[in-house]
């Protein structure tokens, strides 16, 4: 990957090739830009390029770099070129906070695009809050958070989990649910929400199991599913990463097919389907805001640009799309504010920004989340998704969940200084 990385840098910055490839590979974007640092705007990119999470986060970095490159080619922001400083969080939460401090204090970036897991976001949150800085976070997550310093461009639970549960209740009437998830905060909170929601709407949960992140010991869990759902039922899957591969391979081996045991996944997108193998996943469901198969001019343009940049065999997915649009949203906010350095102004300007995103029109809401369209896809023969259901228009984001007892009745609004992070409606 080292040299590939260099190539991308090379293409993105459009610098003249000189010296050796390795040297280039070894040089982060900052030294590569070829333009004097006086008229560039520095932004940070903070994702895991090594470790367990590298699998997912690398392609998000690709999408962010693509957006930066496109912006630079069309003249940059406020007449300046964007310069990306890439840092590796190494799938290690404490590295994330270290690197975040470094990006802010040493590189003096004006914003950071980054993080994937909730754990890494929660690790850097105090950093961004104490330094009153700005983070753009591109992944669907569990909600129950609304920081002044973070913009969330992935789905909140009411933009992914809740609609998909509603759809399942409709589609598979009367079938019991079994919840499987990785053992960390997102699946745990997601399942709390699902249980509350099912209770409110008359669904039934017969079991809830967690598997450690990165583990492939899935046999006991599959046995438990079999025991709990002898007549079939819905598997709601919030497993992350490698575990999915073992899970679906062995689910099929045990004869638990999608006809009797349909599963709804919230962390499986085009990239993951490729890695798991479509043979094991065909006819299972996933809920996202964006699929590569979304049929719109913006989507086609995004897919084509991405394939041109990184090769024809690459696919795009929802978090990549969210990462791509958040760079544009930031750019628009900076242009409206007329400055990139005064974060107070940029944050204020960001609220209300609209963008014609590949998933449909999006708008940054007062709670720093964005409104998006919700879709449910069924995995096809070719590894892409057939969209079986989609909302008519964008769904407004809700940060504090209304099904969970502790946060019921609360909301978040940063556009009104009197309301802020958490206020009672």
């Amino acid at each position: 990957m080292a040299r590939g990385f260099g190539r991308r840098e090379f293409l993105i910055m459009g610098s003249v090739a000189s010296g050796s490839v390795l040297l280039k590979a070894c040089t982060p974007g900052s030294q590569d830009s070829g333009s004097p640092s006086g008229d560039t705007i520095k932004v940070g990119i903070l994702h895991s390029l090594s470790g367990t999470m590298a699998i997912s986060e690398k392609s998000v970095v690709d999408a962010e770099k693509l957006a930066i490159k496109e912006i630079n080619e069309s003249g940059g922001v406020l007449g300046k070129q964007i310069e990306a400083v890439v840092e590796d969080g190494q799938s290690d939460w404490d590295k994330f906070s270290e690197k975040a401090k470094k990006l802010i204090d040493q590189d003096k970036v004006v914003t950071v695009f980054g993080c994937w897991t909730s754990a890494s976001r929660k690790a850097v949150k105090p950093v961004f809050e104490s330094k009153d800085h700005m983070l753009w976070y591109p992944v669907q997550y569990e909600g129950q958070e609304c920081s002044k310093n973070i913009f969330y461009t992935g789905a909140a639970p009411n933009q992914q989990i809740e609609p998909s549960v509603d759809w399942l209740l409709e589609e598979y009437k009367g079938k019991p649910f079994f919840l499987v998830g990785s053992d960390y905060v997102f699946p745990r909170t997601a399942n709390t929400i699902i249980k509350a929601q099912l209770e409110a709407k008359g669904g039934k949960v017969v079991g809830e199991e967690y598997i450690q992140l990165g583990s492939t010991d899935v046999t006991p869990v599959i046995s438990k599913i079999q025991a709990a759902l002898p007549e079939g039922g819905v598997i709601y899957n919030s497993l992350n990463g490698d575990t999915n591969v073992a899970f679906f391979k062995q689910l099929q081996g045990k004869g638990l097919g999608p006809d009797k045991y349909p599963s709804m996944s919230v962390s499986i997108a085009e990239e993951e389907v490729k890695a798991i193998g479509v043979e094991y996943l065909k006819d299972h469901y996933a809920a996202w805001n964006y699929f590569q198969t979304v049929d719109s001019p913006e989507s086609t343009k995004f897919v084509e640009a991405f394939k041109k940049e990184y090769g024809d065999d690459r696919v795009v997915n929802d978090p990549m799309e969210a990462a791509y649009i958040m760079v544009y949203l930031w750019k628009q906010a900076v242009e409206q504010a007329g400055t990139a350095d005064d974060l107070e102004k940029v944050r204020a300007a960001a609220i209300g920004q609209e963008f014609a995103a590949p998933n449909g029109p999006v708008k940054v809401a007062g709670n720093h989340h964005i409104s998006k369209t919700v879709r449910i896809g069924k995995i096809r023969e070719d590894g892409l998704f057939e969209i079986v259901n989609s909302t008519d228009g964008p769904v407004e984001p809700i940060a504090w969940n209304q099904f969970v007892k502790e946060t019921k009745g609360y909301a978040c609004d940063w556009s009104d200084p009197g309301k802020g992070e958490k206020y009672k409606k």
Partner: protein, 387 residues
């Protein structure tokens, strides 16, 4: 009740057989040679990647040829990892015999390099490596023919190392600039790759009731049995097997009797690595194939060898089955119905009934077990003080 217990038993055995297959290579390397190979997991990972490559090579052939790819992959995985093991032994481990702790650290270094290698490897990098090795080792071989080689050795290395690195660097960079993405794109990348079992290995046979035994599990079970039988026959019936056993028992005596101990070492290590490759091929049918695949297995396999007793194949078999079954019974909460009459115990089992906590309990049990039998289930008998 009884059928479910029987089923759990069977599931446990199938987990144990995966453990055993992965531990087999380690049992040879660690058990017979006393070498701690922390890169064992990464050798498995390379076996899995070889399977991926073979699978892709077979894809254009279509059915029914594609169905047979797994057998070719097994052989290819064995050969690739055995070759790498040979290189590893000659390059690193040979210099560290008798210093197990140093070997442990060095092989850990190797494992880190291998992990990053599969992430980064691309045509450009491969070319650079080949050019570098060609120049450096070629020149060294040429020089070593000269009589005053020993005198100029240090000098030659300092000259040749940067020189060949520079040439390799320049060659790969020109190539990279000329063909761009086509050659700089990594082969595998950091993402996981997909290995799909051939059609005839999907699905399973129904046993008792709703219980289904996946074909893949049966395949791995039989593969494990074949490997063990093969190892047994090789060690007990062949000349080299005899030599390996002799060296294991008494190295200096064997050397005195004319057994080429260095070649025996190299062969044993290559064999152990090759078995890791086969195991890698097998686990690619069950789980994910990615740069981190090997990490999941390394500690478990060490436990199998240590619990079983070093240097005893039968020990490894027993230990793998015991650990596999215990892991399953605890993780799937199969035991708590049996002790339902005693709620505190049932609650305790409930607490441990998920895959993480099952690991906690199993490893705690292993640590406790080793208190009573420090040398494992089947200790090697001897009269040394270092029992």
């Amino acid at each position: 009740m009884l059928t479910s217990l029987f089923n759990s038993f069977f599931d446990g055995i199938s987990i144990g057989s995966v453990l055993l297959l992965s531990a087999l290579g380690l049992a040879v390397v660690f058990g017979l040679m006393g070498v701690i190979n922390m890169a064992h997991g990464e050798l498995m990972m390379l076996g899995a990647y070889t399977t991926f490559v073979v699978q892709n090579a077979f894809k254009p052939l279509g059915q029914p040829w594609f169905g047979a790819y797994i057998f070719v992959a097994l052989i290819a995985a064995f050969l690739v990892t055995a070759l790498l093991g040979l290189v590893l032994e000659k390059g690193v481990i040979r210099h560290l015999y008798g210093r197990p702790l140093e070997t442990l650290l060095a092989t850990w270094g190797v494992s880190l390099i291998l992990q990053q290698f599969v992430r980064s490897v691309s045509w450009v990098m491969m070319l650079g490596l080949v050019v570098f090795c060609g120049f450096f080792f070629g020149a060294m071989t040429l020089l070593s023919r000269r009589s005053h080689f020993q005198r100029i050795r240090g000098w030659a290395i300092t000259m040749l190392l940067p020189l060949s690195a520079g040439i390799a660097w320049a060659a790969s960079s020109t190539l990279g600039q000329k063909y761009q993405l086509a050659v700089t794109k990594p082969w595998f990348g950091a993402q996981n790759v997909d290995v799909t079992a051939p059609g005839w290995l999907r699905g399973g046979i129904r046993l008792l009731g709703a219980y289904q035994m996946p074909y893949v599990r049966l395949f791995i079970l039989s593969l494990t049995i074949i490997c063990i039988l093969g190892m047994y026959v090789f060690l007990q019936r062949s000349v080299w097997g005899l030599r390996i056993r002799a060296v294991t028992q008494n190295r200096s005596m064997s050397a005195c009797l004319g057994i080429p101990t260095q070649r025996v070492d190299a062969l044993t290590f290559a064999l152990g690595s090759g078995l890791a490759g086969i195991a890698g091929c097998a686990v690619s049918l069950l789980g994910s194939v990615g740069p981190n695949t090997g990490q999941n297995y390394i500690v478990d396999t060490f436990m199998v060898v240590v619990v079983g007793g070093v240097g005893k194949l039968v020990g490894s078999i027993a230990a793998a089955m015991a650990i596999g079954i215990a892991n399953y019974l605890i993780g799937a909460n199969a035991l708590s119905p049996l002790v339902a009459w005693f709620p505190p115990l049932a609650n305790l089992l409930e607490f441990f009934a998920n895959s993480s906590m099952a690991k906690v309990l199993v490893f705690a049990l292993i640590v406790t077990f080793l208190q009573f039998r420090p040398a494992g289930m089947f200790p090697q008998k001897g009269r040394t003080v270092d029992a």
